[in-house]
């Protein structure tokens, strides 16, 4: 049982999330980086902070930077609950650098980030109590992308603890229902059960964002659940259509080619058009 949830200062919370959004690299659509909208990030971060209060929390990928919001809200004393330790595992070096840089600037000691691709064996098994993932949504591979990220989270928790999985949710479309079904089936095979689900929670920065939503799927290990073996690299056949139709997982890391310039636009994005009558 976590601490009681008090009313938070929404103004303070939104400004804190705004700081985090300002710190994020721009999304790469080709690898399914589509950012959650800011109001949803505020609510989601508070929810995650309460759910993982006092726990060691692993983020298996985190383009949205919910990890940073969760850590920052507590660090700024906007909420008085949250994880004791947060570690983000992401294959985008820009994200990893942005998280480390933010944690250093804001003196957030319990927030860490590691460069890691979910295809590879998980480096820190059985070190966490909770995991959070908002993976590629597995539309074109029957949810396999979601399963891979969920499995890494389960390994991070040593086949125990709990996980929160953010995946597509839609009342009209068929594929999100199939992915939800296959994900719950895979969780069951690994000794977990669904202990809660929050439908149609989040919207995203997409041109067609008016319709697409995601849900929070909470899973929990059965008491005494046993490990199903060491962490291993993912087999190649599970990487097909990983990011969508014909979009296989081929990139190990997104490497950063520019220094972080979070304070403003990059110089090649703009040019001045001067008044002619002012020197």
């Amino acid at each position: 049982m976590g601490k009681p949830r008090l009313q938070i200062d929404l103004h303070e919370a939104m400004n804190a999330v705004s700081d985090v959004v300002q710190n994020r690299p721009r999304p790469i659509r080709a690898i399914d980086q589509i950012y959650m909208k800011s109001a949803d990030m505020v609510l989601q971060s508070e929810l995650v902070a309460h759910w993982a209060d006092g726990k060691k929390l692993a983020f298996i990928g985190d383009g949205d930077a919910i990890s940073v919001c969760v850590a920052y809200l507590k660090n700024e004393k906007i909420i008085d609950y949250g994880p004791s330790q947060i570690t983000v595992f992401d294959f985008d070096e820009r994200q990893v650098m942005a998280i480390k840089s933010f944690a250093e600037r804001k003196n957030i000691r319990h927030l860490k980030a590691e460069l890691y691709n979910a295809r590879d064996a998980f480096p820190l098994t059985n070190r966490f109590d909770r995991f959070y993932t908002n993976p590629p949504w597995g539309q074109s591979n029957k949810g396999e992308s979601v399963h891979v990220f969920m499995e890494r989270g389960i390994e991070a928790c040593g086949y125990g603890g709990q996980g929160m999985i953010v995946i597509a949710d839609d009342e009209e479309l068929e594929w999100p229902k199939r992915v939800l079904h296959s994900t719950q089936k895979r969780a069951y095979e690994l000794g977990y059960f669904v202990n809660r689900m929050q439908p149609l929670m989040h919207s995203y920065h997409l041109d067609d964002d008016a319709l697409l939503r995601s849900c929070n799927l909470f899973i929990e290990a059965l008491p005494g659940n046993k490990s199903q073996g060491d962490s291993r690299p993912i087999e190649n056949e599970r990487l097909t259509n990983f990011y969508g139709r014909d979009q296989n997982l081929k990139i190990r890391y997104i490497k950063s080619t520019r220094p972080l310039t979070m304070e403003g636009a990059h110089e090649d994005e703009w040019k001045p058009d001067y008044y002619e009558d002012i020197r």
Partner: protein
């Protein structure tokens, strides 16, 4: 029902207006000349709904594999899209390997381009209630619902009319072209 818009066919629907401070008639004339000169033209576009590698290319390839064409069907409208008149210098099929754009082709102020041929004026109509989104996160959604959001373009499969209580959403089509391999590319100014 036309020979282009019929159940089972694939279309890339797009609303079009002034682009890059250039009148639509001027754009059409310029693109036709490009097709006459080197056999194809690049039709610039932007936004996230028809991303080249994850949306347009797999959509078009799935039809090409069955020997079916994909048509770009365009609805003229008054909306204005002003972008800088900067000519793209290079294009990329995969976003990683870049090639010079032929001198005969001028594609201006766009992030992406469709590769087209046989561009022509063509009076037709499409009932968006008789289409489904063909690819991407909204795959399977009724075309009218999708376009009703904020989307101004979409990869659609034409279906038999849906039995709904909603009135049909017929949209005039004024201009068509055929997509050619590699269907959609990324553009770069440098």
């Amino acid at each position: 029902m036309s020979d282009i818009i019929q159940p089972g066919s694939g279309v890339l629907y797009m609303k079009i207006g002034t682009h890059a401070n250039e009148d639509l008639a001027d754009i059409i004339a310029r693109k036709r000349k490009e097709i006459d000169d080197i056999g194809f033209a690049m039709w610039g576009y932007g936004g996230g709904t028809c991303y080249p590698t994850s949306m347009v290319q797999p959509f078009a390839r799935s039809f090409a594999d069955r020997g079916q064409p994909i048509h770009l069907v365009m609805h003229k409208m008054n909306s204005r899209h002003y972008a800088e008149q900067i000519r793209a210098a290079r294009y990329s099929v995969d976003g990683a390997n870049w090639e010079k754009i032929p001198d005969a082709i001028n594609v201006l102020g766009s992030r992406f381009a469709l590769m087209i041929q046989d561009l022509r004026e063509h009076e037709d109509e499409i009932d968006l209630n008789s289409t489904r989104v063909a690819v991407g996160p909204n795959e399977g959604r009724l075309g009218s619902r999708y376009i009703q959001g904020r989307a101004d373009k979409a990869c659609l499969i034409v279906t038999d009319p849906e039995r709904t209580n909603e009135e049909s959403k017929k949209i005039k089509i004024n201009l068509v072209a055929e997509l050619v391999d590699p269907y959609a590319v990324f553009l770069s100014e440098s």
